[in-house]
Symmetry: C2
Subunit: 202 residues, 2 copies
């Protein structure tokens, strides 16, 4: 791509580093900003740099938070005997949106992925073990809610190995055919597992 | 969407103002930046604010340019008797990529669109008329290369009306079935026009 200006080229290069954004989309976004008022761009860059400068993580669950301890961890309405282990903030938001879960969270900050150089030490697994080993913590069940992929399963197995000495129940979110999904279009592995892991009709 | 942090919320709101980016994509991009090193975010915001602060437009053709007059307008290798009128920089880049055009450009900065409150006075049409009225300009043909939409056609008609008093040939880029396209899937209007505007087989 030949750019009419070095400034445009640099902006396109930076924007296209974002995941899922190629050079063409980046150019479209950059030219949009050029067309809009200066304030639009400055509000955007200000929000992003303020975020990156001041972002904090809850010291208990490691979710993104504005305070030292997040609103979920400090809430008295949550069931503090349940702990749901997730990969990142997006997963916390997705589970919160279901309104089906009332316990606490533990955000790992990623999953074990040797391909991307992410091992257990990069994740908040030691911190999870510390939380469970605290007798005052009162956690009775750990729910592993990681993606049903090779990496997610590896991480679940690893965490299970690390925490099995503690007197907590360890569960995993159910897997099977998505509700509203079509049996015909489900992949064989999911369909196969949903048959072998069938539950009683009630 | 309930955000765990006001900083995230503000960043998502700003990013989702970009065209074609919804709240979910914005959240994914913002969380990506949070996960990456601070420098990634600062390089991005720096590039965008520098661009928006320092962007310049060629005073002849109004394309984005690093200099007062852009490299196409100053080039001695370009055919200065041909002037191609386009909507914006993306179109200049697209036509340059074809390597089929060797003339100059005139960038309108948009097209007439009453729905979006854009009238002829918002566009660089007066400047086009001034370019044509200059006897030293030497322009012999104006090629209207606007999108074949209602707005594009309206703009073409308007420009034609404004410039028909000048002794220049006015042409329009050809329309018809796209090369490599399938007749069966072409819309009726395009197919109909491509029949009525047929050219001799040679």
């Amino acid at each position: 791509m030949d750019f009419p200006s070095k400034l445009i080229e640099e902006a396109v290069n930076q924007v296209s580093k974002l995941p899922g954004i190629g050079k063409k989309t980046a150019l479209r976004l950059v030219l949009h900003l050029v067309k809009e008022k200066k304030e639009t761009t400055f509000a955007l860059t200000e929000a992003l740099s303020t975020l990156r400068e001041n972002i904090r993580f809850c010291k208990k669950c490691h979710n993104i938070s504005d305070a030292e301890v997040c609103s979920i961890c400090t809430s008295h309405r949550r069931d503090s005997t349940l702990l749901c282990v997730v990969e990142d903030t997006k997963d916390v938001m997705a589970i919160e949106n279901t309104a089906q879960y009332n316990g606490l969270y533990h955000v790992l900050g990623g999953i074990i992925s040797p391909m991307n150089g992410i091992g257990p030490s990069e994740l908040k697994i030691d911190s999870l073990v510390t939380r469970l080993s605290d007798p005052a913590g009162g956690i009775k069940e750990v729910i592993l809610a990681l993606s049903p992929t090779m990496e997610g399963d590896t991480t679940s197995f690893y965490i299970h190995k690390r925490i099995k000495e503690y007197p907590v129940k360890v569960s995993v979110i159910s897997r099977g055919i998505a509700i509203g999904g079509d049996l015909e279009y489900a992949d064989e592995i999911t369909l196969g597992r949903s048959i072998s892991a069938r539950t009683l009709f009630n």
